[in-house]
Structure formats: structure tokens, C-alpha cells
């Protein structure tokens, strides 16, 4: 994850100097792109799957018959059966929830945390900036995967909330740096200076003027990075610190199936869903980025 994050982070950094669009302009520009619309629709399907899995399957994912273990597809069971002999389609559908939750909540949690800390660090140089930036340095210097493994090995129960929490902990410094640099360039714009000279309180300035105008690059980075979270979840299963049953997720399905070469259907379906969701998020992130940067559109 850190790899992708570093990439998008550095990539989006360039936008710091770019101009900013109003939200309505942004939306209009985005809706003109067919790939954006298509990917958004795909994502809506995934969200619906996560929210109301019953819409997609009436089979109980936990109804398992070990004797059907790893059988191929048959009538009523389009994806066949998993290792435990449970209907795989139902399991993949039900697996959407943790996968979508982890990726969305972790990503937007990082967005909020990094955004607000970056806002503070960028707007209040000196002590506040020093405190936040030095803390970020500490987290930067420790390999992220190490922190993940240590913490996830220590907790008594690895729920998605713990995983989200740890991702937040190691994920915010990258976004914070980006936000901080954007805020640097925004804080001396005329409208901010004007607000300050008329005595508007700093918090209000931050909320009303600085944040809306400085958040775009971070948002682009966040959407580009969401897909990596699902892949990260699969890696955690491989390392033995992933989600525990009865939680079902694409990452753990994939992590478990990776070693069984003879039954590729166990491996292909979650991988396909992971990749589709990742690509959708990335295309959306790309579209936002392009829309923000008119130079690239010409």
C-alpha cells in the first residue's frame, strides 16, 4: 500500500500549484467523461453488494457441506463451491462488505486525518507544524508493514476496525505532507489575506476558505489509493494477520486460495472483483485529477 500511496502522493503533489475548481465545475467536468460514469456505476454495484448482499443472492453463505469442497460450477451455484463446500457466489457477494468497508473507511479516514493535520501544519507554522511534521517523520521512518504486523499480532481480536485503525496510523503522514504543501500555497492567496485582515477567526478561515481550496489534490490521491487497500488486506492474510472467520472478505478469500493451484476458480473470482473495484477507483481518481488540471486535458 505504501508503495502505491507514495506514487500517487508524489504524483498528486504536482497539483498543489495547479488551480482549483469549484465543486460544481468539477462535477460537470467529470460527468462529461464516459469512463467516469461507467466506473461510478460499477462502484455503486459494489456498494450495494456491501450494503444489502441479499439483493444479489438468496443463498446463505454459511451453509456449507464439506463433501462439496472445491467443486466447480453447477446449476444454482455459478461460482462453484469453496474449500469448505459453501456456495462461492454467495461468499464472494458477502465478501464485498469488509473489503469495501476497509478500503473506503481507511481511505477516507486517512483523508480526514491527513487533511486536518495537514491543514493545521500548513496554516500554523512554528510549533504546531513542528509537532505534526516531526511525528510524521517518526512514522515515515518505520517500515509500515512492520507496524501493521506487530500491532495485528498483538490485538486479541482482529476486526476490520482494528485493521482500519492501523492503516490510519501508518497512512496519514503521506497525505499530511501533501495537504501541508497545498495549504502553503493557498494561505497567501488574496481571499485568505482579505479574510484575515477583516478579523475572521482562524478556524473559520480554515473551514471556509483554506480547506475547500486545498483539498482537491489530497482527494485525488485518496481515490487513486483506495484499490491498494484491498490488495493490502490480501497481503495481511498471506502474512497470517488478516481478517478472521467468520468475516468473509475478498482479500482473505484470495489469500487462502492462492496456495491451491488446482482449483483456479477459488482464486479468480475474488481477484477479479478486487481488480475491478481497484481499477474503477483509479479511473475515478484519474478523472478527478485530470479535471483539476486543465493543462492535461488539452
Amino acid at each position: 500500500m505504501s508503495e502505491i500511496q507514495a506514487v500517487v502522493g508524489a504524483e498528486a503533489q504536482e497539483l498543489g500549484d495547479g488551480r482549483t475548481l469549484s465543486n460544481r465545475e468539477l462535477l460537470r467536468a467529470l460527468l462529461r467523461k464516459p469512463q467516469f460514469v461507467l466506473c461510478s456505476l460499477l462502484l455503486l454495484v459494489f456498494f450495494a453488494m456491501a450494503a444489502v448482499p441479499r439483493l444479489f443472492t438468496s443463498v446463505d453463505p454459511r451453509l456449507c457441506e464439506l463433501s462439496r469442497s472445491r467443486q466447480g460450477r453447477s446449476a444454482g451455484h455459478p461460482f462453484g463451491f469453496d474449500i469448505q463446500g459453501c456456495d462461492y457466489f454467495a461468499n464472494v457477494v458477502y465478501g464485498a462488505r469488509p473489503s469495501v468497508l476497509v478500503s473506503i473507511i481507511a481511505s477516507f479516514g486517512v483523508f480526514l486525518l491527513a487533511g486536518s493535520l495537514g491543514l493545521l501544519a500548513g496554516y500554523f507554522p512554528g510549533f504546531v507544524d513542528g509537532l505534526i511534521s516531526r511525528t510524521a517523520d517518526v512514522l515515515f521512518a518505520v517500515p509500515g508493514l512492520v507496524v501493521l504486523i506487530v500491532i495485528l499480532n498483538s490485538v486479541p481480536n482482529r476486526s476490520i476496525w482494528i485493521i482500519v485503525g492501523v492503516i490510519l496510523l501508518i497512512g496519514w503522514p503521506g497525505g499530511m505532507r501533501l495537504m501541508r504543501s497545498t495549504v502553503f500555497s493557498v494561505r497567501n492567496r488574496e481571499y485568505v489575506l482579505a479574510a484575515r485582515s477583516t478579523g475572521v477567526p482562524p478556524l473559520r478561515i480554515l473551514r471556509r476558505h483554506v480547506f475547500p481550496n486545498a483539498m482537491a489534490p489530497l482527494l485525488a490521491m485518496t481515490t487513486l489509493g483506495i484499490g491498494g487497500m484491498v490488495g493490502l488486506e490480501a497481503a495481511l492474510t498471506f502474512l497470517g494477520v488478516g481478517l478472521q472467520p467468520p468475516s468473509i472478505s475478498w482479500g482473505s478469500q484470495f489469500g487462502v486460495a492462492a496456495a491451491y493451484r488446482d482449483t483456479p476458480h477459488l482464486f479468480i473470482w475474488p481477484a477479479l472483483f478486487i481488480s475491478t473495484m481497484t481499477i474503477s477507483f483509479m479511473i475515478i481518481g484519474d478523472s478527478i485529477r485530470d479535471a483539476l488540471d486543465p493543462k492535461l486535458m488539452r
Binding site: C64, L66, S69, Q244, P245, A259, R261
Partner: protein, 538 residues
Amino acid sequence: MRRVTGVLGATLGLALVLGACGDGNGSSSGDSGGGGAKSAVIAIAADPLEFINPLNENGSPGIQIAQAVFAPLVATDPNTGKTVNVLADSVTPDKASRTWTIKLKPGNSFQNGQPLTAKDYVDSWNLTAQGSTAWKNNGFFSKVEGYEALNPPTPDGATPKPTSVKTLSGLKQIDDLTFSVKLKVPFSQFGLTLQYLGLAPLPEEVRKDPDAYKREPIGNGPFKLDGAWNPGDDIKLVKWDGYKGPNPPEADALTYRFIPNADTAYNEFLAGTVDFVDVPSTKIKTFKDDAPDQWVTSESSGANYLVLPAWDSRYKNPKLRHAFSLAIDRKSLSDLVGLATPSSGLIAPDINGYRENACKYCSFDAAKAKQLLQEAGGFSGPVNINYSTTSATGQIFAEAIGNMLRQNLGVEVKYTGKQGSEITELADTRKLDGLRFGGWGHDYPSIEDYLTPMFKSTGDANFSGYSNPELDKKLAEGDAEPNQDKAIKLYQQAEDIALEDMPLIPLYAKQNAYLHSAKIEPRVSKYTGVQALYSTFK
């Protein structure tokens, strides 16, 4: 000859452990090997060894190397299953099976030329028996008289007090080739335990400074190190001409290569770079197609259980235990595990004393299970199933058991994945919540080596914290019985008690599978398993 399991088999699976392999020029592929004409590369799916010292080694990889470099006092004959002498000339118990006199064959020596004497055994064993030496096979000597004097009990966490006693009072050298071992209590199976490679002697120069020789062992077995051995390198062995034991291996040279990721090791075999490899648990279904005509299976490698916590009163009622056992479809579970046979008793099927239908509650009967659970008053709260995250298949097997309990008994189930060592520790301190898996592979082929460690109140692998004085008594009677057939009868009575109380639910006994290249044929024996060391060459 191993006793590794405990947390679901010896399967390292995807356990990510220290990677290693020498870096550099080597070209010791499967076809070229070491010096001689008959050579083979054997893959070991484990961390590279850091030292070769049988007395400080109780894991399977270390013992495997020790089998090549060292020789035991006695061994199991692969054809008959009888115990035969290797370095010992005779092993004689007294009438009570308490004092054992071991006489060595004359004319054997260490690889440095020194003759092998009774003193080497006595001194090596004394060194190991000292707690301060901190060698892993220390525990073996706890049966010998005088052990406590060398290992004064220390409160938890305290630094051990130094003791001036350096020798076991029960260990006596009689002459150059004879020594005797006096045990704390009679033990009729002691002779069998002497085939453990972890008891191999070290020569005097090594005993004086073991650390200096940890990477250049001086053995007394059929092979010796070929040149220098550096950390992470393959262990290259060549035949040692001085070995005079019976039936030496056929190979002239062997290379042991450590590949920690078992699936990677398997891939190496498929690519043709190693001659012998264990089939990892994830490939049990496919290995016959992957390497047709190049596989062998062992009879069995011990038995696997579901362990119920004796310290949790909710699991106390034997009827509930029987209900759990009856709710498990061992046939389907064994199919899932692969190469496994459903258990019908507490000991492995290849052990003398095994009975086909010892267990009355090991068939699958959901209706009866439900009824028994009702009679026991049901179960409150979810059943927690602990599995080891270090095993590739731990989670899969836990889910299989969980689904059966949930669907056949109607109980709620939850799962907890932890590192294997943590589960063991929690269990040892009686804090573990719920069920876990346990496995046992014998150190010596005796029904006693299943019952004593796991079911005796003081057993050193009493997974479940089980204690029943009646069973202890039967075991003691068996231990004191010099007639092996009569002893087995007594042990079987002890097994029956354990099956009725059911501290462990028997699940399956698993065969191990191995792949071998076309040029070698590993030795397969009903009694000693599959041994690459004793391969024949084509």
C-alpha cells in the same frame, strides 16, 4: 522420530521464516550434487540451521541432519519394526526396569579419530542435563535419578541459582564401554527411547567448548561435513568411511537445502533443482498429477486431535464432549486434509497396540450428537476455535470443524487466529478460551509415547490439562510390566479411560507425502516412515 506437532501438524506451510541459501557461485543443482557419484539434494522446508548439535536440537530439521552425521545407540529395523542395536552391543534392564545397563560395541570412533567410549555418553549427557547449559534435550533426563539436583526448581522469571552439582547421580560409567542409567521410577520402554538422535554423544574437545564447534560438528555417523559450512549455506555431507554401523546409507554425498516457504520448495522440485521434497499441506490434492511416479507416502506421522480445555467448566461434561465428537464428520474432514484416515482411537494406526474401533464416539452421528448435547444441558455462549496463523491450513481446518459444530449441534462458533506459540502458552497457563488443535508424533514407536505425554497428569504434552488418577495408575502398571504384550494390554486399558473422559477428540491420522527425482528411491517403511537419507540410487 519427532515430536513437533502440537498445533496442527508439522506443516509450516506459508510460515514466513528466515529465508536462506548460500549466496554465490554454487552450482550444486540436483544433477551435479557433491563429490561422489551417488549424490542427492534434499530440500528441507524450514529455517536454515544455525548449528549442528544433536543434544541441543529437538526440531525435525535438526534431527534429520543429526541422523546423517551421528548414530544412535539403537534403531528400529525398517523391515521388522524390531529394535536393533547400532552403537550399543546390549541394552539390559534390571528386573524392575529401573536400572538400565548399556554396553557399547568396541571399535567405533568419532570422526576426529577418537574412540567412542562410555565416558563420552556419560559426560555428554551430564552436560545436557545441567540446566545452565540450556540445551533443548535437557528434559529427556528428567526421568533419570538426580535430575533435580542439576535443575533446582526456580520460581517463574527468577534467575536460576548456580548449583555445584554437575553430574546426574543416576548415571554411572562402569568400564570403557559400559555405563548404567538409574531412573527415578521403573520404566519398561526406556530401551526404545535410546534411539532418539538427540542423545548422540559429543567428543571431548567439543564438550570443552561447544560453541567453537557449533558449525563444525564432529559426529560418529555415516556422513561428515564436506568442507566449511557458513550461515545460510546448504549443508553438504560426504560419506565418512569410519562408520561401522549396520546398513549404512547408499549415498556418497548428500546436500541439505533449506527453503523456508514450503510451497517454494515444492516449486523447486517441479523445476528439477532438488531430488527430494516434502509435499506441503496445500498440495496434497495435486502432487500425484504434478509428479507422476515420483512420489511416496509414509504410513503415518502421528495423530491429530481437537483439544478441549479441562479448565473451562462449560466443557466438563463428558456427554458434551461425546456430542462434539459425534458431530464431526471425520470422513469429509480427512478428505479435506488429504491423505488422512479418520481416527478411531487415540494412537496412530501404525503403532503396536492400535485397535481398529477403540473409540465409541468417533463415528459421525448428528442426531445422537444433538441428543447428547441436550442431555448435557446444552452449551452457553459461542464455542471459540483457536487456530495457528503460522500454518497455511490452520484457518481452513478450523472453519471446517466450526461449520460442523454449528450446523450439526446448533451451537454458535467463533474463531481466533494466533501464533502457534501464543496458543500453547495460553493453554499451558490455563487461560486459553475454547478449542484448539493438537497433534502428536511419537519419539519412539510405542503406545506409551502417546498416552504418557498427553494423558498422564504430569505428562509433558498434556495439552488439555487432563488428570485422572485411575489412568495414571494404569500407566504406571504398564511402565512396570517387563512383558511387552502384557504392558500393551495395560496401556490399552488406560486408553479406554481417556476415550471415555475424552479430554482430546481424535480427528485423523495423516500420511505424509514426498516427491523424489527419478534417480533416487527413498526408503519407505511401515515402521520408520520415509527417509531420504536411506535412498537407493538408480
